[in-house]
């Protein structure tokens, strides 16, 4: 198509870029992204009664985001990601119970601990393929759940770990009953982690992960260190899941066995796929919708929620494989195509 047919879409295109970047590496903040993060601040002003729920949504989103790194970008299907959420939660909880109540350092220690667990188990996960890999993630999750259950003298077993106290944030902001500080804290941590993940997936590292997801053998042949990349991203995702777990422990001041449970692993998977895997924001969109539906349906009957969630998941698996964001971007693309066509049509007519 010659240039006179297509109207100039991007003003910056007129100034030729000095360094051509691969399309996957472009990481400028879009307008929609800025709107999104402004919206995330809104609950502080608009929904002061729902801040506790909003914090939980953000924590779930952060957890799903960590899963997005390995599932959406590296293509590892995990059924035991909650293992790292749980390790983070228990480490933060135990630190606080044993007298170290400062939240930020607790967060760092929790991230390190779950990162170490992730690193150690990554060799098991990366070594296998297909069903074997799936089963190893499941087995790791289940064994940690069982470990926390057996070590009840340390973890409180089925009763959970209580008696936590979180000291003031930065020695300035006490955690209040309404959850204002907690929300600010969670939002801040979420944003920082998000920036990190965003930078990462737009880096050559992220690009090589996507290559591995699409075709592991070809990446091997291209000389990419496939095993090492997968171990690195698995460890990182584990550490970030640990951050989410620690946030959950610190803001609710309670850690239960369900932080390590299969339901949490499966829930994160569902949230991520509902929003759209491999899109960063899918984790946030999915967890918002998931938690909203959950709170509505669970009020009627817990089994109702499970029933309708199951139906929803089956529908997604069959029809909406890109999740909500995938569907939206498809629609947007189609709209743009139509607009470009209708803009091109009169020009073509005048030429004829």
């Amino acid at each position: 198509m010659s240039s006179d047919v297509v109207p100039p879409v991007d003003a910056s295109a007129s100034a030729p870029p000095i360094v051509a970047r691969a399309p996957g590496l472009d990481d400028r903040f879009g307008r929609l992204e800025i709107v999104f993060w402004l919206l995330a601040i809104a609950p502080l002003l608009v929904l002061p009664d729902y801040l506790v729920l909003a914090s939980q949504v953000l924590i779930a989103a952060l957890f799903a985001l960590s899963l997005d790194l390995i599932l959406g970008y590296a293509g590892i299907v995990s059924l035991g990601h909650a293992a790292f959420f749980g390790v983070g939660a228990y480490v933060a909880g135990l630190l606080s119970v044993r007298g170290h109540a400062e939240p930020l350092s607790g967060l760092v220690v929790a991230a390190l601990a779950s990162g170490v667990v992730g690193f150690c188990t990554s060799f098991l996960v990366v070594g296998g393929h297909g069903l074997t890999r799936l089963m190893v993630t499941l087995a790791v999750g289940l064994s940690l759940h069982e470990a926390a259950n057996q070590a009840s003298s340390v973890t409180g077993g089925t009763d959970g770990l209580s008696g936590m106290e979180t000291s003031d944030l930065l020695s300035l902001l006490p955690f209040d009953m309404l959850g204002k500080t907690a929300y600010l804290y969670v939002l801040g941590v979420c944003f920082v982690v998000f920036l990190l993940v965003r930078r990462l997936v737009h880096s050559p590292f992220g690009l090589s992960l996507r290559g591995i997801r699409e075709n592991e053998r070809r990446m091997h042949a291209l000389g990419a260190p496939v095993q090492r990349r997968l171990i690195e991203v698995y460890t990182l995702a584990a550490a970030l899941a640990g951050v989410a777990g620690a946030l959950s422990a610190q803001t609710t001041e309670f850690v239960g066995l369900e932080t390590l449970g299969f339901d949490r692993s499966a829930g994160a998977l569902v949230m991520l796929v509902l929003g759209g895997a491999g899109r960063l924001y899918g984790a946030f969109v999915g967890s918002c919708l998931f938690m909203l539906l959950q709170s509505v349906f669970s009020d009627i009957h817990p089994a109702y929620w499970q029933f309708w969630m199951g139906c929803l998941v089956m529908l997604i698996a069959f029809f909406a494989r890109g999740g909500i964001l995938g569907y939206a971007s498809d629609m947007l693309m189609r709209l743009r195509e139509r607009r470009a066509l209708s803009a091109a049509a009169p020009a073509a007519r005048t030429r004829a």
């Binding site: 069903l131 074997t132 499941l138 029933f307 199951g310 929803l312």
Partner: protein, 286 residues
């Protein structure tokens, strides 16, 4: 020594139950390449059907073949409607869909039968104990072992000696060549899936007295079935049998001798076995 014998016996009984339920899953995974996390739900509904029929005066032993037939039909229906379409999808799609199906099954069982554990009335002959070499063995468990042994021989004959079995083996080995040779691969898949689901339903009915039946059954024991399949090697009859017996015995022995370690034995054993045999003990695909 006597107690050791008893534990081995219980382990074998548990293992045969695992085998009966898992064999369908193993064949589904090996033959159709589908990760079917909803397999436990078929077993669970077999159990509930048996309880429901028993409550209406049908003797327990009569409910067993009925469960096999009913769940087999249900499996055939599901294969036509859902699983057939899932075969060419990614592993993630299969995992998601079958997790969704499991959630729906668990929630339905919860809504219909409630969270209480169900019981069945066993016939008199299967209650109590048998005295063998001075060791008291549960009569029901002996019945279980005998029944599964007979069924396994039947299965081996079916797979090794019949045309249908030859078609199944051919389709597992190479689907496209089999189809090219005129084997109706689609029908073989459907029948095999139905048969596996039927066996799962039968196993679910038989397991009420051993494992207990409640709505979470579908998820709780799914892990064991998946373990058996991944350790035994998907699609392998012998591998599934060996893996079931090994895992069953270790689980029972572990819970008896070192209760504080509990379920670790089984998870640890699985991780070790998977590391040593990544494609399962008798894996067809390396």
């Amino acid at each position: 020594m006597a107690s050791f014998f008893g534990i081995v016996f219980d382990g074998v009984a548990y293992g045969s139950l695992l085998f009966l339920i898992s064999i369908g899953l193993s064949v589904t995974m090996g033959l159709m390449n589908i990760v079917n996390l909803a397999h436990g739900a078929f077993a669970m509904f077999g159990g509930y059907l048996s309880v429901w029929l028993s409550a209406r005066g049908v003797p327990f032993l009569v409910t067993l073949p009925l469960c096999f037939v009913a769940l087999g039909l249900a499996g055939a229906g599901c294969e036509r409607v859902f699983y057939q379409r899932l075969r060419r999808r990614s592993q993630l799609d299969q995992v998601l869909f079958t997790i969704g199906l499991t959630f729906v099954a668990v929630a339905s069982a919860m809504l219909v039968w409630g969270p209480v554990e169900q019981r069945v009335e066993l016939p008199g002959a299967l209650r109590g104990q048998l005295q063998v070499l001075g060791v008291g063995l549960g009569a029901y468990r002996a019945f279980l072992i005998a029944l599964v042994a007979v069924l396994s021989i039947g299965l081996v004959l079916l797979v090794e000696k019949t045309t249908f079995g030859a078609r199944v083996r051919a389709s597992v080995d190479n689907e496209s060549v089999s189809a090219g040779l005129g084997i109706p691969v689609d029908r073989v898949f459907c029948l095999t899936f139905a048969f596996g689901s039927g066996l799962a339903g039968l196993g679910g009915a038989l397991s009420i007295d051993v494992l207990g039946l409640e709505p979470t059954f579908a998820l709780k024991y799914l892990v064991y079935f998946l373990l058996v399949v991944s350790v035994g090697g998907a699609g392998s009859l012998g591998g599934t049998a060996v893996a079931s017996l090994v895992l069953g015995s270790f689980d029972v022995a572990g819970k008896y001798y070192v209760p504080e370690v509990g379920a670790f034995i089984i998870y640890g054993l699985m991780i070790v076995l998977l590391l040593v045999f990544p494609a399962g003990l008798y894996g067809r695909r390396a």
